[in-house]
Amino acid sequence: MSNNKGGVMGIFTDEHTILTAAEKTRLKGFKDFDAITPYPIHGMEEAVGVKRSWIPWVTLIAGAAGCLFGLWFTWWTSAVSWPINVGGKPMWSLPAFIPIIFELTILFAALASVKVMIFVALGLPKVDPPVVDLDLTSHKFGLFVSERDGMYNAREVQAWMQELGAEAVHEVGEY
């Protein structure tokens, strides 16, 4: 999403209207635009042309890292750093370490996915993010076309929003 760049935002009041509006906007050839919705709308990703999220790769890598760390850590502490004979069991008792390794896999995978989602993918936290319409987190829907889009022309985009059925159209200085 185009951070802190101006553009035009149309405000819509209906879920189906915004979905078709986004679809039409994409088909018209706009690229740098996005829909702002209070809840996830089924089919919106395809309508806006958003690719599938890459977060699962983070989960995979972090989970593998957690697993390897658990394997190394239980081995190093129990068999290398200070081997202690407990009940005659082998120093490196892999089956007994599986629960620890499993929990560390889950912990690394979950925390890394959330951290990367918040800090990298979404670019949060943002202090005092720009607001166009306060109802966009409640019951209204926004369609924002950035001024960085190759086809951008403020007046034409405003007319286009009206045509799509926007309730209101705002020219936004910074979004």
Binding site: M1, A22, D34, I36, T37, P38, Y39, P40, I41, H42, M44, E45, V48, V50, R52, S53, I55, P56, T59, F73, T74, T77, S78, S81, W82, I84, V86, K89, S93, A96, F97, P99, I100, F102, E103, L104, I106, L107, A109, A110, L111, S113, V114, M117, I118, A121, L122, L124, P125, K126, V127, D128, P129, V131, L134, D135, L136, T137, S138, H139
Partner: protein, 465 residues
Amino acid sequence: MSNDDNSHNKNKPLNEKPLIAGNKTVKDVTDDISSLVERVPGLKWLMMIGGAKALLLFYLCVLTAIIGIGMGLMGVNHPVGWGTDIVTFVFWVGIGHAGTLISAVLYLFRQKWRTSIARSAEAMTVFAVATAGIFPIIHTGRPWLAFWLFPYPNQRGPLWVNFRSPLIWDVFAISTYATVSIVFWYVGMVPDFATLRDRAKRDSKKISNAIFGALSLGWRGSTRDWSHYEMTYLILAALSTPLVLSVHSIVSFDFAVAQLPGWHTTIFPPYFVAGAIFSGFAMVVTLMTLIRIAVPVFKDYITLDHMELMNKIIMTTGMLVGYAYASEFFIAWYSGSQYEGYAFINRAFGPYWWSYWTMVSCNVLIPQIFWIKKMRRCIPVMFVVSIFVNIGMWFERYVITVTSLHRDFLPANWGLFDMTFYDFGALVGSFGMFFTLFLLYIQAIPAVSIAEVKPVLNTGKEGGH
């Protein structure tokens, strides 16, 4: 308006019934749920929290005495070295599991009805695990050294923890579970905090705006945001599902890995998980019944259909637990081990017969009333049953822990366990902690997920999808 007993919907299959009653619009959902957080608390809530806090203060006094004077105040002694602390710990961890089941497992199965109760169930998980976590720490006798449970580089060698011990597995399982549950809960709340932030900004409430603004992290809700967000939520659900199964399996290893008759059983992991879901759903029903009384508007979100579904799960898991009780007896006989056989005869007919039969009646017999549809849909009945199930599930852990320990292989080693005032105080007081946290949550955080309920608003309506 609530149309709970909407008779023309009553006999429709679930996917054709409206999940949310009262023909609400998207705006109504925002207003309904946000206004509860924004208003000054009502008298009912104040009375409830007054009671809960009194109990919490009592709990703090009991814990202060136990920590300050010593573990000798509690009933544990030779041969019953695991008593109220361990029983109550397993009880509270089990309660937490239904929350994860609702928020994660039902999410993976795309059960849309979970949306209304998922937030509160997840809150219940977090608070139940927090309540549970105190007990093993008290049980160690020297809680101020609890950090020794974690393997950190130290100047004693470094001396590491014994990773071969189920008790250390437990430390890792419970702390991972608590962490992931809190993160899952919080991630689910971010869009709702953004809603509250924007409402606070509209009403120019500076403090609310600052608090909710910080909690929402500046959430905006673009399609790209939602795309990553929903994927992360799905991943957390997919990670929580094996996690929740592992946690109670590992709790059961605390017992099953020992050689004591009555503990040394391979059925324990699935049996503990089924019992955890059973008791947790009972606690969800208890809490939802109370929420529906304290906050009437939630009757539209947590409808009788939701309650009925949970009652069905209670009955199913109750029978699973009953099956485990029966198969334990069968195996005790079939194994041919006289110690194993004696442990089970002693459970049912020894000095602790009353605890065994309390467990069986509460967990297996009483939930059978839910075969009758009218009973599944009757609030007073389900409230009473859910209380019985909670009592029964506490006794299940009591039976497993105490009756197995009190008579082991050598008759010279036998003895009895008596709960003291401090045992009862810690048990009863822990409810004060749990309910105080839960009531504060109801007042401070949207108790139904605003962003998750909106997409299911049209489910089951004419022309809906």
